[in-house]
């Protein structure tokens, strides 16, 4: 099967299918969910049955319904965060690349400081200051993640700024935003696209981990990381309730990674040793 004129391997098709299914469930949400988001339909941790396919959670809500509503929240937040992170990262990165000189030095050093220790540690400290809310979560992760986007877009930008057409635009007297938006950005779009997939995965797992630690998406929203945390009590009785949301996280990330892997292999097929016959 070919997509965009490229032959897609079976793994990429599986990945696409997983992503489509998840997005569909997230968008359709309430229409496909068998029960209400907070509706109690049975006892705590009932096993799976014909009416509740994945059993019930710790206080008797239908697991499948919670998973469907959770898809909305979890995927939605990760998506918004990644968009915001790319907006900040690309803007700063290309401004640094085009202006150069002290602007570049100042932003780059600041980013170096942020990236010199793990983002999770920063996130814990910043969230401690800002307190727990959806807005502060999205802003914190977007800010932290934008440093990685900055690195990539600056590197891409610096290579492009050295080319003749940017020089020509500068001599025509075009302003900073024209050069960034019309000359540099369109030429950096392709590598940024596959980076978007990778950053989305990273943010998705990051937010899930924070929710699992009890510092992510606040109550009363259903989100997959938080659902794992709420249901872990069942594990020691051999009840797998906590594993369903965790598996949902894993499956979606695998799907995205499969597709991104394919994108990357189109861009730069590992050339191997071409002389080997």
């Amino acid at each position: 099967m070919t997509i965009f004129g490229q032959k897609a391997p079976a793994t990429a098709l599986v990945g696409l299918l997983i992503i489509l299914l998840n997005v569909l469930v997230a968008v359709a949400g309430p229409m496909v969910a068998p029960y209400g988001e907070t509706q109690v339909v049975g006892g705590g941790w009932d096993p799976s049955s014909a009416t509740t396919w994945f059993g019930t959670d710790q206080i008797g809500r239908d697991m499948l319904t919670r998973l469907i509503y959770g898809a909305r929240m979890t995927i939605g937040i990760a998506f918004v965060t990644t968009i915001l992170s790319f907006f900040i990262g690309i803007t700063l990165g290309l401004v640094a690349a085009v202006l150069g000189k002290w602007v570049d030095v100042v932003i780059s050093r600041l980013v170096d400081v942020v990236l010199s220790i793990p983002l999770l540690i920063w996130a814990l400290m910043i969230l401690n200051v800002l307190g727990q809310s959806l807005t502060s979560l999205v802003l914190t992760i977007a800010f932290l993640d934008s440093t990685r986007v900055f690195r990539l877009s600056r590197a891409l930008g610096i290579n492009l700024v050295a080319l003749d057409f940017v020089e020509v635009a500068r001599m025509r007297g075009e302003g900073l935003w024209w050069i960034i938006g019309r000359e540099v950005l369109p030429n950096a779009a392709a590598p940024l696209m596959s980076e978007f997939g990778l950053r989305f995965c990273f943010n998705f797992l990051f937010i899930a981990a924070l929710s699992f630690l009890g510092l992510g998406v606040p109550l009363p929203y259903a989100d997959w990381g938080g659902m794992v945390k709420d249901n872990v009590g069942g594990i020691s009785f051999g009840l797998p309730a906590a594993l369903y949301p965790a598996a949902a996280i894993a499956i979606l990330t695998v799907g995205i990674n499969l597709v991104v892997d394919w994108f990357l292999s189109i861009d730069a097929r590992p050339s191997g040793a071409q002389a080997e016959m």
């Binding site: 010199s116 793990p118 200051v129 695998v254 590992p270």
Partner: protein, 315 residues
Amino acid sequence: MIRLILMRIGLGLLTLFVVSAVIFLLTQILPGDVASSVLGQNATPENLAAFRHELGLDQPALSRYLTWLWGVLHGDFGVALTNKRDIIQELAPRFRNTLFLAGYAALLALPISVGFGILAAVREGRLTDRVANILALICISMPEFFVGYLLILNFSVNHEYFPSLATVSSDTPFGERVWAVTLPAITMTLLVTAHMLRMTRNSVLAIMSTPYVEMAFLKGLTRGRVVTRHALPNAASPIISVIALNLAYLVVGVVVVENVFTYPGVGQYMIDAVTKRDVPVIEACGIVFASVFITLNTLADVLAIVLNPRLRHPR
């Protein structure tokens, strides 16, 4: 070369200094008044003033920072707000536990990832390579807690091979400690192995597209020989820096894994402190993680300079 290495170490120390300043700024100065948030609404003005004086909050910010930094350099992290105990006494055994877990995981992960990474590069495009690649991709995609709980459910609840809680104390005998920490170590191994395997494979393959490797093939050497004798010596330095970076990642990856297995390490201590808003403890854990991370990164760069003559001359 010595000058370059010293410069790199100096840069590492400078980074650590700046990071410590940012951590202090973030946790102590931005949140406003720690005293009133700890004492709550029932505090009288006299209480507040006394508590502020006790915490040193009536001093200017810069001198507070310098006092704090001086203490940290001498192993004095102050006292925890919640239980009034010296942080260092709680932190030191936990730090040893964290290093033990990370070291155990590294011991499992290193041979597997480098071995299979090279194997995948040797058999590029064949079945072994594809299987290794897909398995690595799946491992990267799985959140730590999924792997952790899957292991707990299968190996300590359904079959009682290992304990589900890795609770160890300082007087736990070595054998028992290894046994208790096995499941968390396997969880972390799965995660870093995938990263290291892919990066090892890629750095070997990057070398494979150079002219001298092409020459070796044209001489008629077998693929296995070209990889082990011609490509690998040059791929060694990127692989070593990949390993150092992943060891740094291990030390951070413990935060989630320690919470899954309720293992008494620095990560669990930090999460505990964040939920209780215990600022001095958060700072102490932050600075400990930062120093380990920056040290390992600096070490990676120094090793790269030592191993790769091309990096010895600054451009």
